[in-house]
């Protein structure tokens, strides 16, 4: 069994923009994800950070096969997921689960919690009917709810408890990978720590791999072993999480780090306030996409796209400033 569980190779997702209704023709594309490479090791948490519109959620949806891949590939356990036939696909869908941001929207208000957790098991026929109740109860206990709560409806639970239900639903499938898309950002501050601790306990107990998507740097740093920083459809830097913030090499990573709010007053970071805003992914800047906002841009940055280069110890960066 190889160390790498999931690998994206030159992954591209363009959403076409069309003009006209009957004779619609493509006039452009939103380059949501534009050729990214990364891998996720078994049993680790891989964090993806970036601002809204950088393509992190699209990447997650591609892994979940909720969007079709424009080009490139995603390999899961060394097999290309786009080439899967129906039966293999079914297994893949069971072993890759997701927990979404808003637990008020991701649970059906008309179903009992027990049925919500059982639904994917019923669809996939993974568990015989007579064991179903036991399986649901087991999933509920793992996430710290009681088995009697299977008969309640989602509205009877608080935000934190609902997120626990969403985690239980994902867990019931015995997945090897869970995509966590902003799992704590909709929760109250005092509840966030509970959910983050729960997710870590589950990882330790079951050896599950996480892909964590969040915009809160402190959350990503706390949870992840390795982090990928995205900007406008590209991965600009990947490194172990401590290394990334101790030694950020890409100017965008440095700006993100400086923009993260201090946890204590008087703790001053180098102040980098980026000028302007993220450009449109329909018509991204040439060369390095960050160059119009970068204070250290050189002529070459506007012309050529910098490749993602390993600078040692698994620290990869796509920036011409670091080319020795």
């Amino acid at each position: 069994m190889s160390e790498i569980l999931l690998e994206a190779k030159n992954l591209v997702k363009h959403f076409p923009l069309t003009k006209g209704i009957i004779f619609a023709k493509q006039v452009g594309a939103v380059r949501a994800v534009d050729g990214i490479n990364f891998h996720v090791n078994r049993n680790e948490t891989f964090g993806l950070v970036g601002e809204s519109g950088c393509g992190k959620t699209t990447t997650a949806r591609l892994i979940l096969l909720l969007e079709t891949i424009t080009s490139g590939s995603i390999e899961f356990e060394d097999q290309n997921i786009t080439a899967f036939n129906k039966t293999v696909l079914k297994n893949y869908r069971a072993s890759v689960q997701a927990v979404f941001q808003n637990p008020f929207g991701s649970l059906s208000p008309r179903m009992r919690v027990g049925d919500i957790i059982a639904e994917p098991l019923v669809v996939n026929k993974t568990v015989p009917k007579d064991e179903m109740k036991e399986k649901v109860a087991e999933a509920l206990t793992v996430v710290g709810l009681s088995r009697d709560q299977a008969n309640n409806y989602p509205h009877e639970f608080s935000g934190g408890q609902r997120q626990r239900i969403a985690i239980a639903r994902a867990l019931a499938q015995n997945p090897s990978l869970i995509i966590l898309d902003e799992p704590v950002s909709a929760l109250d501050v005092s509840i966030r720590a509970q959910i983050m601790n729960l997710l870590q306990d589950i990882q330790d107990q079951f050896g599950i791999t996480y892909v964590l998507i969040a915009h809160d740097l402190a959350v990503v740093k706390h949870m992840s072993k390795r982090i990928g920083v995205m900007y406008l459809g590209k991965i600009v830097e990947v490194a172990e999480s401590d290394e990334l913030f101790k030694n950020p090499l890409h100017p965008y990573t440095r700006a993100l780090y400086s923009a993260a709010l201090p946890s204590r007053p008087g703790l001053h970071r180098e102040e980098i306030v980026l000028p302007g805003e993220v450009p449109s992914p329909i018509n991204p800047p040439s060369g390095c996409r960050f160059h119009p906002r970068c204070s250290e841009a050189r002529p070459i940055c506007a012309e050529q796209v910098p490749p993602l280069i390993d600078v040692g110890g698994g620290h990869e960066v796509a920036c011409y400033l670091n080319k020795n």
């Binding site: 601002e51 501050v189 005092s190 720590a193 959350v219 706390h222 401590d242 913030f245 306030v273």
Partner: protein, 327 residues
């Protein structure tokens, strides 16, 4: 010492619902001085937004009612003002910046019209002066090419720009006090940094007092001078930010700080506060944090602790704090 612009004394705002009375704000006292920024921190349901709406006289009737206390603006009690008088104060002396710039702007009016609205309402200027004031305001919040942007509609702008427009509207009549309710939650981190910097600059240049409502200690430590921590409708601790971060006294404040992951240090496991915030219709007797507190004593479950002074300008409501017995 600078003079107090706003003083809130023992404010109580209750909502009567079919299921009983919800004590959203239950005895809140604080003050804001000239050119000072007060952070109002708490989780959802702790009463921080209702406190702000009470100050503005915008508690939704008939369910919501201010049942007690005083709100003094420059020494005048706002609760005794008529609706008409309040309308003159809102937007002119106190203005509010709402959380979500996507919904607090009207999609069918241009930016220029919307920034002009409060100016037209409160000041009798001719058209040209209003227009110049609007452009001036847009320039102050750093909107590029304000002449062009004044004719644009909200949907043509990004989130960060919209937030700055909302800021321009709130500041257009040069208020004494600005209430910002979660000013940056809808923004991205780098845009948030831009906006907080702008807010600081404007405050410095115009002697503005601010109340910033947030759940994020990061924002507090970045822009506030003093902070009041709210829990279940009450302020449980109030201090200068340095004192609060260096020497938090209330177990809730301590727990909340420990439960946040930090950028600059690494812990294996976060401290987590057990349980959930209490139901405001059915608050426990005694201290409302007692059921979740790890230092609960017998008295905590019986009687609500009154406010005790830790040091100058630092107060907390907890039985553990020293001067409880004497006060």
């Amino acid at each position: 010492m600078r003079k107090k612009v706003l003083e809130v004394v023992d404010l109580k705002t209750h909502f009567s619902t079919r299921l009983g009375v919800t004590k959203a704000v239950d005895g809140v006292s604080f003050s804001v001085r000239e050119a000072e920024t007060l952070g109002l921190v708490g989780e959802s349901g702790s009463g921080k937004s209702i406190t702000c709406l009470s100050i503005l006289g915008l508690v939704p009737p008939p369910a919501g009612r201010i049942v007690g206390g005083k709100i003094l603006l420059n020494g005048e009690d706002l609760l005794s003002k008529s609706k008409k008088q309040m309308r003159k104060i809102r937007g002119r002396q106190i203005s509010m910046m709402l959380q979500d710039p996507m919904t607090s702007l009207n999609p069918v009016f241009t930016i220029g019209d919307q920034v002009a609205a409060p100016i037209r309402l409160h000041q009798k200027y001719n058209r040209k002066t209003v227009r110049n004031k609007v452009l001036d305001m847009l320039r102050r919040v750093k909107i590029p090419t304000p002449e062009v942007r004044a004719k644009a509609y909200p949907h043509q702008m990004s989130g960060g720009m919209r937030q700055r427009i909302v800021g321009a509207m709130a500041l257009s009549c040069e208020p004494q006090l600005l209430i910002a309710d979660e000013p940056t939650t809808a923004l991205d981190v780098t845009i948030q940094a831009q906006f907080l910097k702008l807010l600081e600059e404007i405050q410095k240049s115009s002697n503005l007092s601010m109340i910033v409502v947030t759940h994020d200690f990061g924002i507090v430590s970045k822009i506030c001078d003093r902070v009041a921590v709210m829990y279940a409708g009450r302020i449980i601790e109030q201090a200068k930010i340095e004192d609060l971060f260096d020497n938090p006294k209330h177990p809730y404040t301590k727990a909340l700080m420990n439960s946040l992951p930090e950028m600059d240090t690494r812990v294996k496991r976060l401290y987590s506060i057990e349980g959930q915030p209490p139901d405001l219709r059915n608050l426990p007797d005694g201290c409302s944090f007692a059921p979740r507190c790890s230092y609960t004593m017998e008295i905590c479950r019986k009687e609500y602790p009154h406010e005790s002074v830790v040091e100058d300008g630092h107060t907390t409501s907890c039985w553990l704090s020293g001067s409880q017995g004497e006060a």
